[in-house]
């Protein structure tokens, strides 16, 4: 889930890149992919945000926040979702705010008592499905989509449901052999979450997995690389991709089409929590409230390309189903359950 090309351009713009600073810090298990300092008033308070979202995406929000609170220096750290989870779980981070797209891991952190409570008008205004207790809050809702290269279809109808997709793949194996991309749930936490939610939602997922398995699919660890391969023509379709990444990195009127499947389309919630160990939880709360405010949500949608929390949009389309923030998410994190699911998935996908 990285957008290295954009982030590379951004790095030059940033006032300070502190990748080396990680080495100077006390021994920590956390390996950062990026660390960017947005300086405020010298000598002012420092807010550390640990996130799975690339700096480039969050930069407009940080800039707007600092326009309101110029005294705050914001240290923005990026790491993989598993690393973020482990760092908070093992107390290996001094982050004030943790933002992650791995809903299940965030849920486990909150459930196991690693999140501090936070009350504000902004959090209270969130719809019930977009927060858990007063500890976990969704800042963006992102559909999990199918992306199709129409050139590869060669005039065939674009599938709108999983059943149609299964039929398409089964009927035209030659068009798609080796040209299907999807997440590798073994390597990717997001891929695992999407696959388990698919499996939970419908049996059609297993049929689809079996059909895909017969067509030698390519497995990816991030949406970004999947989309890059699709743009390069190496893939005909990519299944279970984060729509927000797709929408912002694809030309609006190209041959590549983003499809929200009509039988159901999961909505991933990008969630934030304030760790109990946060050195400056009040700054974290201020930033979180800003992200959830009307201004923050507008910037989120327009500048960051992450869809704002919008209950009306979900109500209007019955096929959009937000992944529920409830203890059910803990189930697939159980090692036995994970082992069993991955075994089943491998059996379906890696057929002899």
């Amino acid at each position: 889930m990285r957008r290295t090309d954009l982030a590379a351009g951004l790095r030059r713009l940033c006032l300070a890149l502190l990748a080396a600073a990680a080495l100077a810090r006390p021994a920590a298990a956390l390996t950062l992919e990026e660390e960017t300092l947005f300086p405020g008033t010298p000598g002012g308070p420092v807010l550390t945000v640990l996130s799975t979202t690339d700096t480039a995406i969050f930069q407009p929000l940080v800039v707007a926040f600092q326009a309101r609170r110029p005294d705050i220096t914001l240290r923005y750290q990026v790491a993989g979702s598993q690393e973020v989870f482990a760092a908070v779980h093992d107390g290996a981070t001094e982050a004030d705010l943790v933002i992650s797209s791995a809903m299940d891991l965030q849920m486990k952190l909150a459930n196991d008592g690693f999140a501090a409570p936070h009350h504000a008008a902004e959090t209270a205004a969130l719809p019930p499905w977009a927060r858990w207790r007063d500890q976990l809050f969704a800042v963006a809702q992102e559909p999990v989509v199918l992306i199709v290269d129409r050139r590869a279809l060669g005039g065939l109808a674009v599938p709108r449901t999983r059943a149609a997709l299964t039929a398409l793949l089964r009927d035209h194996p030659d068009k798609f052999r080796g040209r299907i991309g999807t997440y590798d749930p073994v390597r990717s936490g997001a891929g695992y979450l999407f696959a388990t939610q698919d499996a939970r939602q419908s049996d059609s997922f297993w049929r689809l997995a079996e059909v895909m398995g017969a067509l030698a699919p390519r497995l990816y660890a991030s949406s970004a690389t999947m989309i890059a391969d699709l743009r390069a023509g190496r893939l005909a379709l990519a299944y279970n991709v984060l729509g927000s990444y797709a929408a912002s990195s694809l030309p609006p009127a190209g041959d590549v089409q983003i499809i929200e499947l009509q039988d159901f389309t999961h909505i991933l919630l990008r969630t934030a929590l304030i760790p109990r160990t946060a050195p400056t939880p009040d700054l974290a709360a201020a930033f979180l409230d800003f992200l959830l405010s009307n201004t923050g949500q507008q910037l989120m949608a327009q500048k960051a390309g992450l869809p704002a929390i919008d209950e009306a949009a979900l109500a209007a389309d019955q096929s959009l189903r937000p992944i529920r923030l409830d203890p059910g998410l803990l189930v697939y994190l159980d090692p036995l359950k994970r082992r069993r699911f991955l075994a089943e998935w491998s059996a379906a996908l890696r057929q002899p």
């Binding site: 459930n111 008592g113 409830d326 203890p327 803990l330 189930v331 159980d334 036995l336 069993r340």
Partner: protein, 459 residues
């Protein structure tokens, strides 16, 4: 509501009703809260138990050992009621298979296949736990598997707190309603008493009619006793007056005989000492006869005060009649009697005998206490719905005595020893004025003498 006096029925009744309502309200609050708490607890326990059993049902024995496929819905349903933290632990033959290894296990073995519920502190919260045991055949032997699922109870606490608020609101509402009813009940209970007391309080001092106010059966003995008392009182009064009247009558007749005999004896004897004695006798007899007469009049007035024969009465004509009837007596006493009344009739409703008796007493007094060549003026004026009869003389006046001094029974002024009198005249006038809802005043006149005024209301 009026402030209740100490020992008031109203206050006692109200306090007892309010106290009862308060006790019932508190009981209602406590019982609703208790029932709702146990209901919520039972509901939550059964959900937790169902989730635990749902997990346990997924236990499988394999050749390698025990495996489990934790159902998503088992945990998801725990999130249905509220947003509570969920913990689980699965132990196979005393060794942890998966879950939270430090989650407290139950002290006792769960009964049979049913879950055992218990509460323990865990991760800075009080956690409600359910444990079930299942034997699983795995790897050739039977393994004892214990499944423990726990959940914090913040949603339950929130529901119970909400229920408690509702119960409190219910109790308060109940109390407010009961208080309103208590006030209304107290009022309706005390109202007949108030009415009876008010009716008795408004009565004049002479009003000895029986109480006819409708009263509740509980008060009937009281009014019956009161009426009996009133009847006895008025009977006693009547007997007294009758006795006085009869006594006066029985005294007057022999006195008249005695006076006649004394006058005959006076005419027949020439002895001056005897004549002087006889004159003393006649004077004493006159005095006694007059006293007896006034006693009789007084008795009649008092009796008639209670049972007046009201009828239209022309005061002007009455005054003229009285003036005429007293003309000879005035002549004999060398007193000029001037009567000045309007030509037109002055009508009011009154007992003629009472008014006439009062006026005769006043005129008689005026003539009696005027010396020779005195002048008595009788006048009648009408103003502001009242008729005022004025009888003025140039006699010896009151010598500073007040009306109250002079209207007591058998009380006389200090300057009248030489004049025959009983001390009942002004008492009678006062009684009449009261019976006719009028007013009687007596004052000194400028330039000597006194002026009596009897004011009576016109129709």
């Amino acid at each position: 509501m009026r402030a209740a006096a100490p020992g008031s029925i109203r206050r006692r009744l109200l306090l007892q009703l309010l106290g009862g309502a308060a006790v019932l309200s508190v009981l209602l609050y406590l019982s609703v809260r208790g029932v709702s708490r146990s209901a919520v607890e039972q509901t939550q326990d059964s959900i937790l138990g169902a989730a635990t059993i749902a997990v346990a049902e997924q236990l499988r024995g394999t050749d390698e050992g025990v495996d489990i496929d934790i159902p998503y819905t088992a945990f998801s349903m725990l999130g249905a009621v509220g947003q509570d933290r969920v913990f689980y632990r699965i132990i196979v033959d005393g060794a942890d298979l998966t879950g939270y290894a430090d989650l407290p296990a139950p002290d006792d073995a769960p009964p049979g296949l049913n879950p055992l519920f218990y509460s323990r502190p865990y991760q800075q919260a009080l956690v409600r736990l359910a444990a079930v045991n299942r034997p699983v055949i795995a790897g050739g032997h039977t393994a004892q598997v214990q499944v423990i699922v726990g959940q914090t109870r913040s949603a339950q606490e929130a529901i119970v707190a909400d229920m408690a608020w509702r119960a409190a609101a219910l109790g308060l509402g109940f109390f407010a309603l009961a208080a309103l009813l208590a006030v209304l009940t107290t009022r309706s209970v005390v109202r007949p008493l108030d009415r009876l007391a008010g009716a008795l309080g408004r009565r004049g001092p002479q009003d000895l009619r029986p109480v006819t106010q409708p009263v509740p059966v509980e008060l009937a003995p009281l009014t019956a006793a009161l009426n009996g008392f009133i009847a006895r009182l008025s009977g006693a009064l009547k007997r007294t007056e009758t006795f006085i009247a009869e006594a006066a009558h029985h005294i007057r007749t022999p006195l008249a005989t005695l006076r006649a005999r004394a006058e005959i004896a006076l005419r027949q004897t020439q002895d001056e000492a005897t004549r002087a004695s006889l004159r003393e006798v006649i004077r004493a007899v006159d005095d006694s006869a007059r006293a007896a007469g006034q006693l009789l009049e007084h008795a009649a007035v008092v009796y008639r005060s209670d049972q007046r024969a009201e009828a239209p009465l022309d005061l002007a004509a009455l005054l003229r009649d009285i003036g005429q009837s007293y003309a000879p007596a005035a002549d004999m006493a060398d007193v000029a009697l001037a009567v000045s009344v309007p030509d037109s009739a002055v009508m009011l409703t009154a007992d003629r005998l009472l008014v006439e008796t009062a006026l005769r007493n006043l005129v008689d007094n005026a003539i009696k206490y005027s010396g020779p060549d005195g002048r008595v003026e009788m006048g009648l004026g009408v103003a502001q719905g009242r008729a005022t009869i004025r009888i003025a003389d140039r006699g010896r006046g009151l010598s500073g005595a007040s009306l109250a001094d002079l209207t007591g029974r058998f009380r006389r002024g200090r300057n009248v020893e030489d004049v025959v009198g009983s001390g009942l005249g002004l008492t009678i006038v006062q009684e009449v004025a009261r019976a006719q809802r009028g007013r009687f005043t007596l004052r000194e006149r400028d330039g000597g003498g006194s002026c009596a005024e009897l004011t009576l209301p016109l129709d």
